[in-house]
Amino acid sequence: MSVVQKGADGLGRGIDDRLGSSNFVRRSLNKVFPDHWSFMLGEIALYSFIILLLTGTYLALFYTPSLSEVVYDGSYIPLKGVTMSEAYASTLHISFDVRGGLIMRQIHHWAALLFVASIAVHLMRVFFTGAFRKPREINWVIGVGLLVMAILEGFAGYSLPDDLLSGTGARIASGIMLSIPVVGSWAAFLLLGGEYPGTELLDRLYIAHVFIVPLAILGLITVHMMMIWYQKHTQFPGPGRTEHNVVGSRLYPVYAAKAGGFFFLVFGVLALLGGLAQINPVWLYGPYDASQVSAGSQPDWYIGFLDGSTRLMPNWEFYLGGYTLSLNVLLPTVVMPGLIFTAMALYPWIEAHFITKDKRAHNLLDRPRDVPTRTAIGVASLTFYIVLLIGGGNDVIASIFNISINQISWVLRILCIVGPPIAFVITKRICLSLQKSDEHLLHHGIESGTIRRLPTGEFVEETVPLPAQYRLNLTRVAGDHEAIEGGHGDPGYDLEAVGHAEAPRSKGFFRPKGVSRVDPEQAERTEVGALEPSGKPGSPPQ
């Protein structure tokens, strides 16, 4: 043993003697994380966030959140000698005169767009697989909080450069605040430190953007991760996988290697985008000036649905005894998102109480087709959202495809009302027919391609039964797993309850009779590393 090794050993033991941490570390390194590509989607959000923190810190070194006027004297010729705010001048400075400034700005902005986008993709994964069900409702709510925070963070950042675009955005935001009855004007006054544009807005947005919101996100992510740690990750049903175990790779080395590599892949994609594709060329927008506005003044995509809802909203405004009630702004930008995010946060309980009536805990995931109502609700909501998003870009669409902006608006107005129900019905149908075809596969096997002639002269194609592993994926019934693995799981599934009204007709097949159910909450889930194929469900990890 070398001196260094000895020293390290001694140090390790010294720490361990005092903190008793090696047990914790060993247990942690041996933690098992299930393998499925879709479980890595949340990580994209995590890594984008880390990249946002890194690039944002660099930008903060050079950015000045001040509205005081300066005369620009940097290297962008068309604005030389133009009077502008210090905030805008410092953004130009970062873009043209700070080494690596522009690529940092661009990576930061692309990372912001992809941060929210990857949150959305992750959310869809969690939704459509039913990962939000008991006992993970709280983590779902935290997730909704993270989504809202990410949107706020993006909006605050978008407003910092004080160029024409961001100024227009801030102005619209203050208009939205003013539309809130009774408290609106007070809130706006308080936030802006006076009438629009006020003197305080930029300072406050800056503090929110670099300190308050990131800290809140960081805190929420920490809780989010800790809950995944303690509740353990969900998994799809499969051989040896039950409600009570976790089958997958150990955190160290397999999962850590994967995750570490993945970080650099995400970073690589963001760096490529930042280096190859221009984003928010602030120098073209010019300094903010209340008398100017550009065509195509749009928010970043994650605010686009609010822009769309405002554009599609009929122009309702009422005057009540000296007060103006601007429903045309209030409904689409305050009431609607408020309702959407509340409904989203409450969805796990809404589903358990009104849709599946399944209030039990679940560690095994659903396939979307097996819960048609949930899947249909998801697709209908997405349809509504996408219609609003398209509405937010109606002018650009009109100009690119040469169609009338008024026609687009009317089509979208109709679509945002009739689209979701249509999407709901179609999705449900598709789910049910997919279920049927699964059922067919299970009963009749796969067509083998071999034609046999029967003694009667009839030709039939021979079928082979599905391999056990695929059959398991289709049935998702833990009872079958036992048969194959000899483990002691429990079904934990009651397809009739989950699929509710749409449960397939052949109930007997999908729901093995006479298997006792154990409440997964009561039982501690064991972890089974995929590295030990012999690892029986139920045996403790080494």
């Binding site: 393998d35 590509w37 879709s38 890595m40 989607l41 994209i44 068309p78 604005l79 030389k80 000698g81 133009v82 873009s95 043209f96 522009l102 661009q106 692309w110 767009l113 992809l114 986008a117 990857s118 993709v121 024409l164 675009l165 790779s249 994967k258 590599g261 993945f262 892949l265 994609v269 985008l273 594709a277 221009q278 060329p281 073209l284 010019g286 000036d289 008398s291 100017q292 506005v293 550009s294 065509a295 195509g296 003044s297 749009q298 928010p299 995509w301 686009g304 937010g392 870009g393 109606n394 002018d395 650009v396 009109a398 100009s399 040469n402 169609i403 009338s404 902006i405 008024n406 026609q407």
Partner: protein, 265 residues
């Protein structure tokens, strides 16, 4: 109507015009010979009248079917009396005229005429009813303005329709403000002077010639010279195209990589 009859009638009309024109040019020649001040200017009107004459010829073959033999307009197009030379330069140099039938807003097309021919038609139309006229026929001269002033004026006056980068934008009911990428300095200047379609006309008291030159300079700079750092411009439609790229390129790539990593256990 019998077509030979039409042709004959038109020819008759033409010959009567030719007589008038001949008389006019005679007067012009006499004027230059005896009355005009010496020097350079001496042959300018002669050139001018030559241009008018040639312009008239071109007009009669290319435009009169819609705008009438006397610029008076007709069922096919509006009267061109008083629209001025700049309107002609704008419409022709951007390829909008002669019109291809059946469009809601005359689109830009490849230009069929030489610049000299356009100037001749412009001179002819200018000579009949007057109207705004380019202060110079030279692109470089028209774009000789202050870049910074031009930028500010562009954002105040033009960006609301043509977008911050001149990428164009939609107006109501299928109308649109086109992108400015292909506009020459003459077309830009003439557009401000003539105010085509739903674009406002900027007279010299709204935007002085100096300011118009500044704007022209800025638009040319923006669309031709500016070296825009930071990579592909994505059409410069603003956050919409950026959001689209984030999803179509970014998320697709990332989810693809997730699938790839997920597949290697």
């Amino acid at each position: 109507m019998n077509s030979t009859a039409t042709v004959r009638k038109r020819r008759k009309q033409l010959s009567s015009y030719a007589v008038v024109l001949l008389a006019l040019s005679l007067v012009g020649t006499l004027y230059t010979a005896f009355g005009a001040p010496e020097g350079q200017a001496q042959d300018a009107p002669a050139n001018q009248s030559m241009a008018v004459k040639e312009g008239r010829e071109l007009y009669l073959t290319g435009c009169s079917t819609c705008h009438g033999l006397n610029l008076e307009g007709g069922s096919g197009g509006p009267s061109l009396i008083g629209v001025g030379a700049s309107s002609v330069v704008f419409q022709m140099e951007s390829g909008r005229m002669p019109l291809a039938a059946g469009t809601q807003q005359a689109p830009r097309k490849p230009v069929k005429y030489e610049i000299s021919e356009i100037d001749q038609i412009a001179a002819y139309i200018q000579a009949n009813g007057g109207g705004p006229e380019l202060p110079s026929a030279d692109n470089a001269d028209l774009a000789d303005g202050d870049l910074q002033l031009g930028g500010a004026l562009f954002r105040t006056n033009c960006a609301s329709c043509h977008n911050f980068a001149g990428s164009g934008g939609a107006l109501t009911y299928g109308k649109y403000a086109p992108e400015l990428k292909s506009a020459s300095a003459r077309v830009i200047y003439a557009a401000m002077q003539s105010g085509p379609e739903s674009m406002p006309r900027y007279g010299d008291n709204q935007l002085t010639p100096e300011e118009k030159r500044a704007i022209t300079r800025y638009v040319r700079y923006l669309t031709q010279e500016a070296d825009n750092p930071g990579g592909a411009g994505l059409g410069r439609y603003g956050p919409i195209s950026e959001g689209l790229v984030a999803w179509v390129v970014g998320i697709t790539a990332l989810v693809g990589l997730t699938l790839w990593i997920g597949a290697r256990a």
